[in-house]
Symmetry: C2
Amino acid sequence: MAKQRANIRDVAKESGVSLTTVSLIINKNDQRISEPTRQRVLDAIEKLSYTPSRLARGLPNRRANTLAILVPQLQNAFADVYFGELISGIYEEAAARGFRILLEVARRDYIKRREYMQLLEDCSVDGIFFLGATEEHKFLKEFDASDRPLLVVNNHFSQWDLHHVVCDYAAAGRDAADHLIELGHTRIAHISGPNDVVLTTRELTDAFVGRLAEHGVRLSKSMIVGGEFQVETAKLACDELLERDPDLTAIFCANDKMALGAYQSLRAQSKQPGKDVSIIGCDDIPVAALSDPPMTTVRMNFFEVGAESCRQMLKLIETKSMDGRINKRIPVELVRRASTAPIR
Amino acid sequence: MAKQRANIRDVAKESGVSLTTVSLIINKNDQRISEPTRQRVLDAIEKLSYTPSRLARGLPNRRANTLAILVPQLQNAFADVYFGELISGIYEEAAARGFRILLEVARRDYIKRREYMQLLEDCSVDGIFFLGATEEHKFLKEFDASDRPLLVVNNHFSQWDLHHVVCDYAAAGRDAADHLIELGHTRIAHISGPNDVVLTTRELTDAFVGRLAEHGVRLSKSMIVGGEFQVETAKLACDELLERDPDLTAIFCANDKMALGAYQSLRAQSKQPGKDVSIIGCDDIPVAALSDPPMTTVRMNFFEVGAESCRQMLKLIETKSMDGRINKRIPVELVRRASTAPIR
DNA sequence: GATTCGCAGTAAAATGTTTTACTGGAACGG
DNA sequence: CCGTTCCAGTAAAACATTTTACTGCGAATC
């Protein structure tokens, strides 16, 4: 009971080789170690139930083998399916590669103290994922064209040169437009996201409106209302749209939550979603399939966005190559359910 | 441009003192350092924009200044208000004390490989919070009466001797019973949680039934149905209860989600929750106040449970005193809203 | 027979802290 | 004037690894 915990020196002594040899074996860069020696060392590791210290390991090469997920301070950010799926995707991929995940909340004073930088500078973390970024997060400027490993997940920016991985929102807008056109709709409305601060939802809107125009359907500005991505605001938005055009036949909502708000609004006016008015959502969150009627929507595989973000981040860290920024688009897919129907 | 990053040695050289002095100043155990020296060192730190490396700091005393949150692998565990609030509470308190939070998911193979132990053994983490624990998590036995810093958040176990911080579920059961009695109800039912695997919800049920009995109201076994904490299963449970006793006047649900399920069930049978049948929930999640009718419920401050868990954990780590287990109960509070009414 | 090469492994430096035990000198009481 | 105490700080060990440059040796090559 001399020692609490075996270290690499103990293993070396036990198996009669040098530290270096043990280290090489642990790190699997061991072409040059012969099989018998290798086996002896592995036995010693087993016997002493040795685990290399992550702390000490990170020290020489300044690697923590840890990644941070930074989320904005929202009302229960951790209780949102959207963040939940992104985080799961990142986690899964990171865990598979032996990386740990650190959780960080970008509160006001967190940003003011530049703690995200500390994280990188004190070697706590090898890279940072930023979820839920908007154009109001001015501190991102610090990463503009910098070689600091920060990756924006599911949003992107034109004013700053950053790494990002995003769903193909333009394709989503086009898919939604094509679907409604195919069903014969012409009196169409759109409940958008916060277009003033999020580029992706602007792209969604632009692509949707643009594609409708290509098909000769004009969507006037007044039939586009912003909904802040929440059920309640979307309900109000939908009320407003129905007042402006009581005969509209289809609404494209920038996310599924807002589509549920539209359902509520319609019902309150004794209209049936999917029959009287076609509703198409965006995201395909789990409740979309379970809603009544089951929702037609554009599936955005957020889990995959998270996973791909993580793969890209790891590549970034390994290679340290700064030739160009990461700029990956994840494909989307229209899911036809019962909330859209041919025009009568 | 000789160096990338200043270290403590650079600071020492710059300010003409020894490493030790700098270290003492950084760690604020610096009674013995004179003010002028202190100032000189702080200036040097500023000038070189020096940040101590967390990795190197942890090495000598085997402290990572990091805590892990372990959650079970559930359908979108990260997208649940319950976990969200617990995590927020833990995070807040940890951040205030300079601790980082690591996220870990207890998947099947994660448990099999005992990675939670690795976490402690390789010094990645100074302590582990386990959320969403049930009696099916047999691996907890490993921490039974052990001095490993694992803390069970918002559940507890009688079969294993572990640290825990829990809401006072017994008090919640009593409060709910008292409230219904006060309103004159006698035909009462209960939709319970997964009583087979979670002790806290058994306590809730027992306290509720016990208190009713004290007031002379007998709740038969058949009027208690389990609901697995989900909206859908609770709806079915409620259907069943209404079939068994169409004249029941009140239902106590073991959480708010299930109370919402009960709302649905009642409405489907053209009964008005809060008028025809009083419903009382448990948790006071945000939607409870927003539901229709606003829900009477027992508030469980999960944020506070998380925060207190973290405080206890830090105490555990600091003192390393194993005289007794942590066993803290967080008080609950009845919130009267419109889903309960005096019997007619 | 000298030179080169590859093999299997090692010595030692480097990574950046904390902490314990020490030191030289000044003040101070007897 | 001597011993003690205090002050302000320091030297050096410890923490656990990775990595670079090296070494001895036998085999192949010229």
